[in-house]
């Protein structure tokens, strides 16, 4: 680790030496700061609005005049917000874990061996992207009904036990994994399970962590499938809760923004935790 720490600042020096004037760097930083502001402003606005009193909601002033927690109190009492957050967290965490597991297995299968029908099956995986969710929803609903799983969290998880994105990303990462490492492990007599879990997976943890973040978020933000399954607010997820503040008779912006802020915090936390894995993996590859 100390090596890396020493190594990291060495690069900019080399960089600056090469571009004597270094004018590109300030330009790059300028653009990055602009993009960062652009990225963060709406979330600032979300939090700001969530703190505004009701008669100020449609105000477009950038600074808060008076802050209140009324919207949070209302959001928490109008819908079973905490219960929904827990439900969503459970569903997202389980889906993420399962998708990564099936993705790692499939990724290994596809990248490790050439077998009859491999490209056909690979194509079938990629093509799942192109099937509009809405057309499979009703048949899936009927299946869930037959399994007696309507109004359960299990029904939110079951159809998501694999994802094309996870598989494709992991296949690609595993293909660029140096084959000498496989070979050496085979020579040492390691079996495939050992190679996969003790050599491949630890080396791909940066990719896996990024993937986990993305899968978690997309499950967290899912709306249409939970909408069809919802029979009670208690067994529902937070996106359904957010939509409860949006009606044809007008949107309750204050509570919506308060609920959205609450719904965004767990994702931010997950990102920060998993981002460490990405960084750690980079440090490791820097050492190699």
């Amino acid at each position: 680790m100390t090596d890396t720490a020493l190594q990291a600042p060495a690069r900019p020096v080399a960089f600056r030496l090469r571009f004597g004037t270094g004018w590109q760097r300030p330009l790059g930083h300028g653009l990055m700061i602009l993009l960062s502001l652009l990225s963060v402003f709406p979330i600032y606005w979300m939090i700001l609005t969530s703190l505004r009193p009701e008669n100020e909601i449609l105000s477009t002033r950038i600074w808060p005049d008076a802050a209140t927690l009324d919207n949070y109190a209302y959001a928490l009492s109008a819908i079973p917000m905490l219960r929904m957050l827990v439900n969503t967290f459970v569903v997202s965490a389980v889906v993420t874990a399962i998708q990564i597991l099936t993705g790692i297995l499939a990724g290994y299968g596809f990248s490790r061996w050439r077998f009859r029908g491999a490209s056909l099956l690979m194509g079938a995986v990629a093509l799942t992207w192109l099937v509009p969710l809405q057309v499979v929803m009703i048949p899936n609903y009927l299946l869930v009904a037959r399994l007696g799983m309507i109004d359960t969290l299990g029904a939110l998880i079951l159809p998501h036990t694999a994802s094309a994105f996870a598989i494709l990303l992991l296949v690609q990462a595993m293909r660029s994994f140096p084959s000498e490492v496989y070979e050496a492990a085979r020579m040492d007599g390691a079996n495939h399970a050992h190679i996969l879990w003790h050599i491949v997976v630890p080396n791909l943890r940066g990719t896996i962590a990024s993937l986990a973040i993305l899968v978690f978020i997309s499950t967290w933000n899912e709306y249409f499938w939970p909408l069809l399954l919802t029979r009670s607010a208690q067994n529902s997820v937070v996106q359904i809760g957010l939509q409860m503040f949006i009606t044809a008779e007008g949107t309750q912006w204050g509570p919506l923004m308060a609920a959205s802020t609450l719904a965004s915090l767990p994702i931010l936390a997950i990102y920060l935790v998993l981002q460490r894995q990405v960084i750690a993996s980079f440090m490791k590859s820097g050492l190699r």
Binding site: R146, L228, T247, G250
Partner: protein
């Protein structure tokens, strides 16, 4: 199809059909019914009032348990359809009026005349506004009782009116007066002269039906066999809207932008359902003077608004559950029920006693002047005609796309656009 589901559902259906006439006089055994309800799918007054209604009902009928199923309005038909196919128990449903035809013809909503003893039905209809009852009827049979419904009103910002020299005490009553006022507002302020909820997928065709009908036109003929929105009277009304748009008076905004522009005080006039009243009042409070008047007409013709919103329909197959659903329906459309709906959610009552009797809301109504145009229109309200057949959604969407193009598009050939769309939608009729 999954064979098991099919045969089970089929068995249930035939059984139900055979016993349709034998609704018991009262509920003696505990029974649970489902109520597909869209007010429950939102947070706030609507959901609270609905839960309150259910609690009151359950207290009065200890043998009946009501399971509220929350579904947003735009999904309710889809959801009922899916649940019927999946063999879930569907009893009472809050049906949006555009889907009433589909609910009756395809999904098997019962005509009340078929399941409720005639004398009981007549007794319950006592005191209901006659043309309010018509809202839920198709070919003379009552498939739904109007439940949460509202009428189109013209909201206006009296402060803007005063600012540009218009008289807020005499708001426009005809489209010609709207055009006149609109020109003044356009020329003397930066505000949007006229926003409207006529266009956009979430509006469907409900407001347009009333506008065309007010010029003695219409979107479809009386027996729902021919589209008529390109006929001369309808065409004239659309041409009038185009003129307003061309003059920069009528502005094309999506549904949320309109609502927020009016709520924030940026629009001078807004033609929209009275259901948004609560939202506008909250926006106007402390900011500007919000007023409302009836929907505008054409010249001397009396305006012919139609309702938006929902009615309640019964889908139960089992006689005991039919009785339970009917009891719930009776309760929520009683004087007590409408009192809660009108006061706490902001819809209209189907029983005039609710607004006339001091026992209910007479006092409350006098404190809420914005409700007046709404109540006034109740006496000449006409039904929102649902498009027939399985393509009812596609017909309305294609028609409204064409009318939007005719009003706001670059092409001046209004007749050509409407005629082409009329021919096309005609082909989608059953």
């Amino acid at each position: 199809m999954k064979p098991i589901v099919v045969s089970a559902a089929l068995a249930g259906l035939t059984l139900g059909a055979a016993q349709a006439q034998t609704m018991p006089a009262e509920i003696t055994e505990p029974v649970t019914i489902t109520w597909y309800n869209y007010n429950l799918a939102s947070a706030g007054n609507g959901a609270d009032a609905t839960r309150h209604l259910i609690d009151l009902f359950e207290a009065a009928h200890p043998n009946i348990h009501v399971e509220g199923v929350p579904v947003p309005p735009q999904n309710i038909t889809t959801r009922v359809q899916a649940d019927l196919v999946a063999g879930q128990q569907v009893d009472l449903v809050q049906v949006t009026f555009n889907a009433l035809g589909f609910a009756a013809e395809a999904l098997g909503a019962h005509a009340l005349e078929d399941i409720v003893p005639a004398a009981e039905l007549a007794a319950n209809f006592e005191g209901m506004v006659q043309n309010g009852l018509d809202l839920g009827r198709i070919d003379g049979r009552t498939y739904a009782l109007a439940y949460t419904f509202s009428t189109p009103v013209l909201y206006y910002n009296a402060d803007i009116f005063r600012q540009v020299g218009l008289d807020p005490e005499n708001p426009p009553q005809t489209w010609a007066q709207i055009a006149e006022a609109g020109r003044v507002i356009r020329d003397h302020s930066d505000h949007i002269p006229l926003a409207s909820g006529m266009f956009g997928p979430s509006a469907g065709d409900w407001l347009m039906q009333g506008v065309l009908r007010s010029n003695n036109g219409g979107v479809i003929n009386a027996d729902r066999t021919a589209m008529t929105f390109a006929d001369p009277a309808s065409l004239e009304a659309v041409q009038m809207l185009r003129d307003l748009a061309q003059e920069g008076i009528l502005v094309n905004l999506d549904v949320t932008s309109q609502l927020e522009s009016m709520a924030a005080g940026n629009a001078a006039m807004y033609l929209q359902t009275s259901a948004v009243q609560g939202y506008l009042i909250r926006g106007a409070e402390g900011n500007y003077d919000l007023r409302a008047t009836t929907m505008p007409g054409f010249g001397d013709l009396r305006p012919r608004p139609n309702n938006s919103g929902s009615g309640l329909a019964i889908f139960s197959q089992d006689p005991a559950r039919q009785r339970a659903a009917w009891e719930l329906m009776k309760f929520v459309t009683s004087n007590e029920g409408y009192t809660i709906i009108t006061r706490d959610i902001g819809y209209l009552p189907l029983r005039m006693a609710v607004v006339e009797s001091p026992e209910y809301l007479a006092g409350w109504v006098s404190e809420h002047p914005l409700l007046q145009p709404n109540l006034q229109q109740l006496s000449y309200l006409e039904p929102w005609t649902p498009m027939p057949g399985p393509n009812y959604v596609q017909i309305a969407t294609t028609m409204m796309d064409a009318i939007e193009m005719a009003v706001f598009g670059d092409n001046d050939d209004v007749a050509g656009i409407l005629t082409a769309a009329q021919t096309q939608t005609q082909g989608l009729l059953p």
